[in-house]
Amino acid sequence: MRHRLSASGRRLGTLAGLFGLGVLLWALTPHFLTVSNLLNVLEQTSINAVIAAGMTFVIISAGIDLSVGSLVAVAGVVLASTLHAGMPITIALAASLAVGFAFGLLNGLAITWGRLPPFIATLGMMSIARGCALLFTEGRPVSGFDPAFRSIATARLLGIPAPVFVTIAVYLMAHFVLAETRFGRYVYSMGGNEEATRLSGVNVRLHKTLVYGVSGLASAVAAVLLTARLNSAQPIAGIMYELDAIAATVIGGTSLMGGEGGLGGTIIGALIMGVLRNGLNLLGVSSFVQQIVIGLVIVFAVLIDTVLKARKG
């Protein structure tokens, strides 16, 4: 029992951080705590949140994926070009997800069969995929789509933007996979002790490869949201997204050492980042100071956690 508490205790620490940030902004600006602004934050957070969901799988498995931003670009330009080629939306979506998944699997294969450190394999892919996206589009954005496609970003249900539903769906599904399925178990145990997992008869190579596939898939979903939102797919989209996704995951309590963590924390981590950026814009903080504040919040969000943890024992 207590162990389960301690895991969610960690999450509570992060939640407290999010809450504190919210209260602070509420005190500082009347524009923060309005329905329209909060929906706004949720919508803005969705893209990072979706990528971070995939990243959570990777980090729990004791890996890292630096290529997510470039995969967003590749999946985005594939999506956009398929749409521009006059294909139906479903085909375009399928193509984009397939490409994201495939690039993710390539990462996985480089790591499992090539025995490359994940950092290096995905750093290489970051560069390769970016190059592919640029070559494919000759460096130009592909813009302008049907309202039908754009409704993925623009539709509202009960006033709530569609991307928020997509994010919720992604998290429910990902949480189910991580918490309830065999694959999810293997993700944790590979991260906790890979050799013991292998000796327990788990096909580590297969499952680890799939983990990166999942991350690629998540990037592709994010690419769909981004492309619909911006009405444009850019070959230079997603630069530095990996840092935001990793930060959200780690702020959410998933350890970079692998073996522990979960999606409940990650979504809170992503919201902290989203609320922070939103608040800084609302307050009109100067661009130089913004960087300092963002850095401090990242540090303190995690610090709250470690302090709470240390106090407990």
Binding site: H3, S6, R185, Y188, T197, R198, L199, K312, G313
Partner: protein, 501 residues
């Protein structure tokens, strides 16, 4: 002892308490140590022995209680404090740096220097060599520790602890991975130290060692101090104090019967540690594997179980040749391996007891890829009871269990898997007497149910008491195969030394 002029004991611990979430690991524990004595600390798995020692070595903070050295209270908050007070520790869990050489590990934190901060490599190597040779080992001090076997690593730990000019030497199960000859060397080293007035706290589950090395024994149970007895003392008395009940100290009368050949191993090799090993294991049979440190027993187990891929030879299971390229192949064919190095190969420390027990059988416990939590929990509950694993509950993380209980989890994981062929590499390492007997019974029952068991062990009594046949290895080859009735201590040892066949 009653002499009034006698100075205060070297060490006194009083009212030591330590609470972990959900577990009262130490409850008002008292402990006393005289100069020059070897004081044995006894208790069942999870009794709190290691925790008490971790408190003494500054590795873990106490909640209450005081520690006196030479009658004076001391502040003990970090391993550095302990070192400064002359306390040196061999921890139960290996605490070596895998990438550093044996020599570097031995002198870690106390490197000999030439000038400001510069290491005197020559002296370091020379000192390490003489320490290791003094212990009768042939370990190359320049080899990185990760390339050493578990036993060799344990010898490095011993050398490291001895190298400290300690007044109090704590040894938490130093012999769990050692064979007879290393144990002898260790004991004579202990003898030399005590003559110089060094006091030793010695923890072990190998009851037969106690009288050979110890002067007094203190027994703990459930985190409490129970009693202190001078040694020698009848083992059943000590066991009764530990377990608070009578434990039969005999190996179970076999209920199994040898059946049809099950596993046939033919010319299996994995140079440089394993050469051309062949044998047959039958259903209902426990085949013991004996040998000295580095004889290749572990390599044999790993090769059969697919942990390493052998370079030559074949494995035939019930007449069908097996193609084992990964552990998953072996497991699917019904071969399970309880590995020797539990920390590295045995369990996932951050995962719960239940998840660890379920790991090899998730395929069975899952429907359409979804894990059936009810069945997982049932499995965990069953094996926690069966092996008497001391844990707050099935969701406790394995890393919070005591060493012996961790070993039980590893064992339970494979017993639960219901393998046809079960290979157990040092199955009772670090396990208390009472639990050992239960494990022996379990192994017997499994064999009686038709499994074949390959039992690797460095404890000769265990080999002799449990095996239907004994396979003795020497330098990676089969030196002898002895039937139970012809297997005596002398014959096995001779074969292990490569003398007879």
């Amino acid at each position: 002892m009653t002499d009034m002029s006698q100075p205060a004991p070297l060490l006194q611990m009083r009212g030591i308490c330590k609470q972990f979430p959900g577990v009262r690991a130490l409850d008002e524990v008292a402990f006393e140590l005289q100069r020059g004595e070897v004081h044995v600390l006894l208790g069942e798995n999870g009794a709190g022995k290691s925790t008490l020692m971790r408190v003494l070595s500054g590795a873990c903070a106490r909640d209450a209680g005081e520690i006196l050295i030479d009658g004076r209270p001391v502040a003990l908050h970090s391993p550095r404090d302990a070192q400064a007070l002359g306390i040196s520790t061999i921890y139960q869990e290996f605490n070596l740096v895998p990438h550093l050489s044996a020599a570097a590990n031995i002198f870690l934190g106390r490197e000999p220097l030439v000038g400001a901060g510069i290491i005197n490599r020559g002296k370091l190597l020379a000192d390490a060599t003489s320490l290791l040779r003094g212990l009768g080992t042939t370990i190359d001090p320049g080899v990185r520790v990760k390339h050493l076997s578990v036993a060799e690593q344990q010898m490095v730990e011993v050398a490291k602890a001895l190298s400290l000019d300690a007044r109090i030497l704590i040894m938490d199960e130093p012999t769990s991975a050692l064979t007879e000859s290393e144990i002898d060397e260790l004991f004579s080293a202990i003898g030399r130290l005590t003559k110089r007035g060094v006091a030793v706290i010695y923890i072990s589950h190998r009851m037969e060692e106690l009288a050979r090395v110890g002067h007094r024994a203190t027994v703990m149970r459930d985190g409490r101090y129970i009693a202190t007895r001078p040694l020698p003392c009848p083992i059943p008395t000590l066991v009764r104090l530990m377990a608070n009940r009578d434990i039969t100290q005999h190996f179970p009368t076999p209920t199994r019967r040898r059946g049809a050949p099950l596993l046939h191993v033919e010319g299996i090799s994995h140079p440089p540690r394993l050469h051309d090993v062949s044998f047959t294991l039958h259903r209902g049979e426990i085949l013991g594997v004996a040998g000295l440190l580095g004889a290749g027993r572990t390599e044999l187990a790993r090769a059969i179980a697919g942990a390493d891929v052998p370079t030559a030879g074949r494995v035939v299971l019930e007449g069908r040749p097996l193609r084992v390229r990964a552990p998953s192949d072996a497991i699917r064919a019904g071969i399970g391996l309880v590995p020797e190095d539990r920390k590295r190969h045995g369990f996932v420390p951050g995962q719960s007891v239940a998840a660890n027990l379920a790991l090899p059988q998730l395929r069975r416990l899952a429907r359409a890829g979804v894990v059936d939590r009810r069945r997982e929990r049932a499995l965990a509950t069953r094996w926690i009871e069966e092996l008497r694993i001391k844990t707050p509950d099935a969701s406790a993380r394995v890393l919070t269990l005591s060493g012996g209980n961790q070993q039980k989890v590893v064992l339970g994981k494979w017993l639960a898997a219901g393998s046809d062929v079960l290979i157990v590499d040092e199955p009772t390492r670090g396990i208390d007497v009472a639990a050992k007997m239960e494990i022996y019974q379990l192994l017997d029952r499994l064999a009686a149910d038709g499994a074949g068991i390959l039992m690797i062990s460095s404890e000769l009594p265990e080999i002799l008491g449990m095996s239907d046949r004994v396979l003795v290895m020497h330098q990676g080859r089969v030196q002898a195969v002895l039937d139970a009735h012809e297997a005596t201590q002398e014959r096995v040892l001779q074969a292990a030394l490569g003398l007879a066949s």
